[in-house]
């Protein structure tokens, strides 16, 4: 890449680049302050706690790109978390079936959201507010009390390093094969997120449907006049959102070996996902940004909370500091306002 094209890319992806830089600084500082920083154990622990919010933030990105908002992502994650806590045990075939059932639940729920938004022509924010309540209700039906039964091997293998994965399932000579050595210390949860992002998000973004989603967010009328498949794109966007949210719910069940239909937790995940999306450089007006940015945004949110473990901060001050950091981070949007020459540009 030449300097000129790099410069152009940077100016077009200001928010994303800033988020990436912020994450790099925060993460490196965190690891150098941590007594066991830059070790596999720390990375595994961090990755484990980031996966659920990362998936939920990616799920939130799609409706936001359309210019809407999905207030049900946290609830769908909770619902799928409860489904997974019921079905992830038994023979390997049963477990595979359970994984499929969990992902199908979230995908169908997202599809339903999409249909309500497209055919019911209800604003996404308010439609998902309602369907979110339905999802929580279903989650409570499935799991009135927290708990669950998740296969121990699966739980162990997917929440540790690649070596543990190979060791648990006994492939690649139990993790000692020469070709797996370079990857042995990488946390599996990190790989899961990267793989899903690469296999799902990247092809989606390059497809006609994906481009249509961006076009709808920029100017829905223009997209319609250009003959783009608007309705299909909206439905696919919500369906994919449901799928990604169910990935989050599935992982949470594997990580905690349980399901918990907690309304407060669902709400917190939804709100944090919006924060992560904005931090990652996606505009709430729609049309610009992407799920990779939201991934970075979610990581930033998590790294900030990791700091409280190593710094000697009064635990009572933690929520305040978290809030101030969040408020400061989103306030960087003010630079756009200060640069505006024509007042009317503010009202877009």
């Amino acid at each position: 890449m030449t300097t000129a094209s790099l410069g152009r890319w940077l100016s077009r992806n200001m928010g994303f680049s800033a988020a990436l830089l912020l994450l790099a600084i925060l993460f490196l500082t965190y690891n150098s302050l941590h007594p066991r920083g830059f070790s596999s154990a720390v990375a595994i622990q961090n990755a484990n706690e980031t996966v659920a919010i990362a998936f939920v933030a990616m799920a939130q990105t799609l409706p936001v790109l359309l210019g809407g908002l999905d207030l049900s992502v946290g609830a769908v994650m909770t619902l799928t978390n409860c489904v997974a806590s019921e079905v992830l045990h038994g023979s390997p075939l049963q477990i595979v079936f359970g994984v499929g059932l969990t992902l199908l639940t979230g995908t169908l729920f997202g599809f339903m959201n999409g249909c309500i938004v497209v055919y019911g022509r209800i604003q996404p924010i308010i439609a998902t507010l309602a369907t979110g309540a339905v999802a929580i209700g279903l989650a409570l039906l499935i799991r009135p009390k927290p708990g669950g039964n998740v296969d121990d091997d699966l739980s162990w293998a997917l929440t540790n390093s690649v070596w543990d994965l190979a060791d648990t399932y006994g492939f690649a000579e139990g993790g000692e094969a020469w070709w797996i050595r370079p990857f042995a210390d990488i946390p599996v949860p990190f790989l899961i997120v990267v793989i899903v992002a690469t296999l799902v998000w990247v092809p989606f973004r390059r497809s006609v449907i994906g481009r249509t989603v961006y076009a709808i967010g920029s100017a829905e009328g223009a997209a319609y006049m250009s003959g783009l498949p608007i309705q299909r794109a909206k439905i696919v966007a919500f369906t994919l959102g449901g799928f990604l949210a169910s990935c989050g719910g599935l992982y949470l069940a594997i990580q905690t070996s349980s399901g918990n239909a907690d309304i407060q937790q669902a709400g917190a995940y939804t709100l944090n996902s919006i924060a992560a999306v904005v931090l990652g450089g996606t505009s709430l007006l729609g049309g610009t940004g992407g799920a990779i940015g939201s991934l970075v945004g979610a990581m930033i949110l998590r790294v900030i909370s990791f700091y409280f473990r190593i710094l000697d901060i009064d635990p009572l001050l933690q929520p305040l500091i978290e809030g101030l950091v969040l408020l400061t981070a989103v306030s960087f949007g003010v630079f756009r306002t200060l640069r505006v020459r024509n007042q009317l540009d503010l009202f877009r």
Binding site: R121, Q123, A130, L284, L316, F347
Partner: protein
């Protein structure tokens, strides 16, 4: 009655009919199971409205912000912060303190959204988190005074001529909001700014001040609700406002206010609140478990909006 309803009144009529339907269904249930009809007694309805007044006042403030096409997610902790600070100060200064907290939060929200142009969705969310942090930091380590003052108890629990004072406070807030929306230039500016901010700005409306004003009203309403709720439960506590955010938004939207701003009547919000309160009380009479409540709640919102809340098809 006219057969063709204006687009603005349709939601109001339909949600009123639904309120009646809830009352009939609930009464049928109680007649069948217990042979009594508590839902139709004045005393019971007044009591339900009394507990509904907290939501009603929150929704009144929320409506001002939604009319602008914005949203105020800071209501839960504005309510809580106002209540907790007020009880910590105590005495005669409790009420002014609560209002001052509301005013301050509203100003911060308004300035962030109107002048810094940060989307309200995320800015008010940040303010909410900061307020939560402040309250945790304030109450941590020692327990500040949290009992309601006599005035709060009077406002929330007493009755004048048989009518709960809380309902009167709600009525007063409603009167103020209706007057603002229909009788003042500020009210018209809110509708104009909500329809198209650029056009309103070019017409000479100081749209930023309008936005700040609406956010201040929203936060003031939340703090009044906080005061009442403290009186009702005799003390202020963390998380007391959490149950009000989403129902407030739902009530405003069920009442026909457009979530993207510019359209809506206050009567609709009032009926939206009554609908939600009655729905909740009928479900508790039926001893519906939380799971069923949530599902019914969501289904009702979606199906009501399917009847009258649909957008225009995008055609250009």
């Amino acid at each position: 009655m006219q057969l063709s309803l204006s687009a603005e009144n349709k939601p109001i009529v339909i949600s009123s009919l639904f309120v009646v339907a809830i009352l009939i269904a609930g009464t049928a249930y109680t007649l069948w199971t217990a042979g009594t009809a508590p839902l139709l007694s004045v005393g019971y309805l007044l009591q339900q409205l009394q507990t509904g007044s907290f939501l009603g006042i929150c929704a009144a403030g929320m409506m001002m912000v939604i009319l602008l096409g914005h949203i105020d997610l800071s209501i839960p902790w504005t309510l809580t912060a106002a209540a907790m600070t007020a009880t910590a100060v105590g005495g005669d200064m409790a009420l002014p303190t609560a209002l001052a907290v509301g005013l301050a939060v509203g100003l911060v929200n308004g300035i962030g959204v109107a002048y810094l142009r940060i989307p309200s969705m995320i800015f008010t969310l940040g303010v909410d988190t900061v307020l939560r942090g402040l309250m945790v930091a304030q109450t941590g380590g020692f327990a500040p005074q949290d009992t309601a003052t006599p005035l709060m108890l009077f406002l929330a629990k007493d009755r004048i001529l048989g009518i709960p004072v809380a309902i009167l406070v709600w009525a007063a807030v409603s009167l103020v909001i209706v007057t603002i929306l229909t009788r003042t230039g500020f009210g018209r500016s809110i509708y104009a700014t909500g329809s198209r901010e650029g056009a309103a700005y070019l017409s000479g409306i100081r749209t930023r001040r309008v936005i700040v004003g609406a956010f201040v009203i929203s936060s003031l309403c939340a703090s009044i609700a906080g005061v009442l709720l403290t009186g009702y439960s005799a003390k202020a506590y963390q998380g007391m406002g959490n149950a009000f955010l989403l129902p407030a938004i739902a009530a405003v939207v069920l009442g026909g206010t457009h979530i993207l701003g510019g359209k809506g009547r206050y009567v609709g919000t009032l009926i939206g609140v009554i609908l939600i309160v009655l729905l909740n009380s009928v479900l508790s009479i039926m001893q519906m478990p939380e799971a069923g409540r949530q599902i019914i709640y969501g289904t009702v919102i979606v199906s009501m909006l399917l009847v009258y809340g649909r957008n225009q098809r995008v055609t250009s």
